[in-house]
């Protein structure tokens, strides 16, 4: 009552400026420019000729935009195109196999960590997690020796095996979170309805954990696609290179071909960015799962 009569008497007070909201807007604008401008410059450079890119002051907007750099990369008739397409295929093949194997290995492990109470469960689980803590480079030397011993040096197998272990801890952790949220009664019901333990897992649990499997797959794929250090160390033959290593070796020979390099960088980023944009929901969920209590 009091407030009603007060507002009736008092003239309408102008709403004060919400400084926090404006600060937020400015901040976001700044961040957006910081994020987008480098990418925009990459794209702008990639449609310039080499001559146009090497000017001072720079051409802020390409005066004669050209897609030549892209044609060159994607043309299987010249050497550059052949190599780029080969690297692209290698990256795709290694990343895909890593992803598939990762799911095959991580799914049963995550399921066991979520459902079973076997001795040593906690120890093993944290052993798996702690893997995240160790830098890739520290494993390089011994793994290099190990791969040599197993005869895997200069094969994609060495990369797939290594990437598998990068992805596994996170995959297991993420999938365990998904399985924790599937009520155990569903499996019990299935087993009473006549399913074996494995059938209950296959017909009931697996379909329900599809979002988790998608999320972990994106992570494995992006991680493998972007990996550099091992690919750089384990593979020495040109035709085996994956993209991150390949474009480097390839373009240091023509270190000054910046537009070509930007075009290649752009092409290299397309698959992961598309994958991310399409499956953003799963990606973000996977990223934050486990760290944020629900």
């Amino acid at each position: 009552m009091a407030t009603i009569s007060e507002t009736a008497i008092r003239p309408v007070v102008r709403k004060p400026i919400d400084w926090w909201r404006w600060a937020g807007r400015f901040f976001l604008t700044f961040l957006l420019l910081f994020t987008v401008l480098p990418m925009a410059w990459m794209v702008l450079t990639s449609v310039k000729s080499q001559f146009a890119a090497m000017q001072y002051p720079p051409q802020w907007w390409p005066t004669e935009p050209t897609l030549n750099n892209y044609f060159k990369l994607l043309d299987p008739r010249n050497r550059i195109g052949q190599e780029f397409l080969r690297y692209f295929w290698n990256s795709f093949y290694v990343s895909l196999l890593t992803t598939i194997l990762g799911v095959v290995v991580a799914v049963p492990a995550a399921y066991a960590f979520s459902r079973f109470r076997f001795p040593g469960r906690n120890f093993l689980f944290f052993a798996v997690l702690v893997r995240n803590m160790f830098p890739a480079v520290v494993f390089l030397m011994p793994l290099f020796l190990l791969m040599r011993w197993m005869g895997l040096v200069n094969t994609h197998g060495s990369l797939i095996l290594t990437y598998l272990t990068f992805g596994l801890p996170l995959s297991i952790w993420l999938l365990k979170g998904f399985y924790d949220n599937i009520p155990i009664q569903l499996e019990q019901a299935a087993r009473i309805d006549g399913a074996t333990r494995f059938q209950a897992f296959l017909f009931i649990v697996m379909p329900l954990s599809t979002p988790g499997i998608i999320a972990t797959s994106i992570f494995s794929f992006i991680g493998a696609w972007n990996e550099y250090v091992y690919a750089y160390t384990f593979l020495s033959r040109d035709h085996q290179m994956t993209l991150p290593v390949g474009i480097q070796r390839f373009f240091t020979e023509f270190a000054t071909d910046w537009p070509g390099l930007m075009a290649a960088t752009f092409m290299m980023s397309v698959p992961v960015v598309v994958l991310f944009l399409v499956l953003q929901k799963y990606f973000v969920r996977a990223l934050t799962e486990g760290a944020v209590k629900h």
Binding site: G24, P135, V137, N226, Y228
Partner: protein
């Protein structure tokens, strides 16, 4: 028909007593459970346990550059002494600390600001989040090339802008200057990873109960006080995990300094990881590099302890709720 009651608890059938007990018994009883974990275990053992053991072993030997293991010579702690006495060690350590702390701190603060600004619903919020996340998704190699081009000493767009704005008379050589190189690399690193902090904190913000914020508003708390007394305490857990993950990632980063400068000029942008790589694969000093790696292990294990602690706390909370 009623049944005797009040019996003392305890096994009374011979069958129950005869079942195996103790840890071995439990292991046997759960033997099929291990089958599920076995593939993961094998992979992890081969690719993790073996390398860790191997690195420790190598750190006590001098091994020939061609890595012929039968020619290695026991040198005790010599490699460790070499590491700690090396003048580069101090510079690289300081670089590593600056790199890790500055990247983590700024990335976290930018991420926090972004998360708070994006928390309010507005048109284009989803698009903006996606755009900000792209650098996190693309490969560090791509980021390194793009920024190397932006920083280019003759045709770099950043230098050109600086001249246009009258900040300097001629383009700055960001990467070939001991004073600016590390800071320039840190900017790239922050560009790439701040949105990770943003996403984590956005998820954390969703756990802040709306009712509490309303209650605080009714109690007359200002926007700042609402943030400080309600929002921020709720973000503490997520913040800890985020900062830890960023620190671990930064401590372990390799690609940006390696691809952009290779540690140069004159070691000014070397951090531990790139230095270890250079010692091992550049100079074939396997023993010294391994000693470095072992010291790094110990540092990481300490961080790892807090990481696991922070994670398990989340796990328990989830199990409880």
């Amino acid at each position: 028909m009623s049944i005797a009651t009040g019996r003392a608890a305890g096994p009374s059938t011979s069958q129950a007593a005869s079942r195996a007990s103790g840890i071995l018994g439990r292991v046997i009883a759960h033997r099929t459970d291990y089958l599920y974990v076995l593939p993961a275990l094998i992979v992890m053992l081969v690719v993790i346990a073996f390398p860790i053991y191997y690195t420790i072993e190598l750190s006590f030997f001098r091994t020939p550059p061609n890595l012929q293991m039968r020619d290695k010579i026991w040198t005790g702690l010599d490699n460790y002494v070499t590491v700690l006495r090396s003048p580069v060690f101090h510079e690289v350590t300081i670089n590593t600390i600056i790199w890790t702390v500055a990247s983590t701190l700024v990335a976290f603060l930018l991420g926090l600001g972004a998360a708070l600004s994006l928390h309010r619903e507005f048109v284009g919020r989803g698009v903006m989040r996606a755009l900000l996340l792209i650098p996190y998704v693309v490969s560090a190699v791509a980021a390194s090339y793009v920024w190397k081009w932006l920083y280019h000493s003759d045709f770099g767009v950043i230098g050109a802008i600086a001249v246009q704005l009258g900040l300097t008379s001629e383009p700055i050589n960001f990467l070939d200057n001991r004073q600016t190189v590390l800071a320039s690399l840190i900017v790239v690193n922050i560009w790439k990873e701040f949105s990770f902090a943003m996403v984590m904190l956005m998820a954390g913000l969703q756990t802040v109960p709306e009712q509490l914020l309303r209650a605080a508003q009714v109690d007359g708390a200002s926007a700042w006080n609402r943030f400080w007394h309600v929002t921020f305490p709720h973000l503490r857990g997520v913040s800890m995990v985020t900062v830890l993950l960023l620190m671990v990632a930064n401590f372990n980063s390799f690609i940006i300094p390696f691809v952009m400068t290779g540690g140069g000029p004159a070691d000014a942008s070397h951090i531990w990881i790139t230095h270890i790589y250079q010692l091992a694969f550049g100079r074939q000093q396997w023993g010294v590099a391994s000693a470095y790696a072992v010291i790094l292990f110990i540092v990481m294990m300490t961080l790892g302890y807090f990481y696991v602690k922070a994670l398990t706390r989340g796990d328990e909370n989830r199990a409880g709720g």
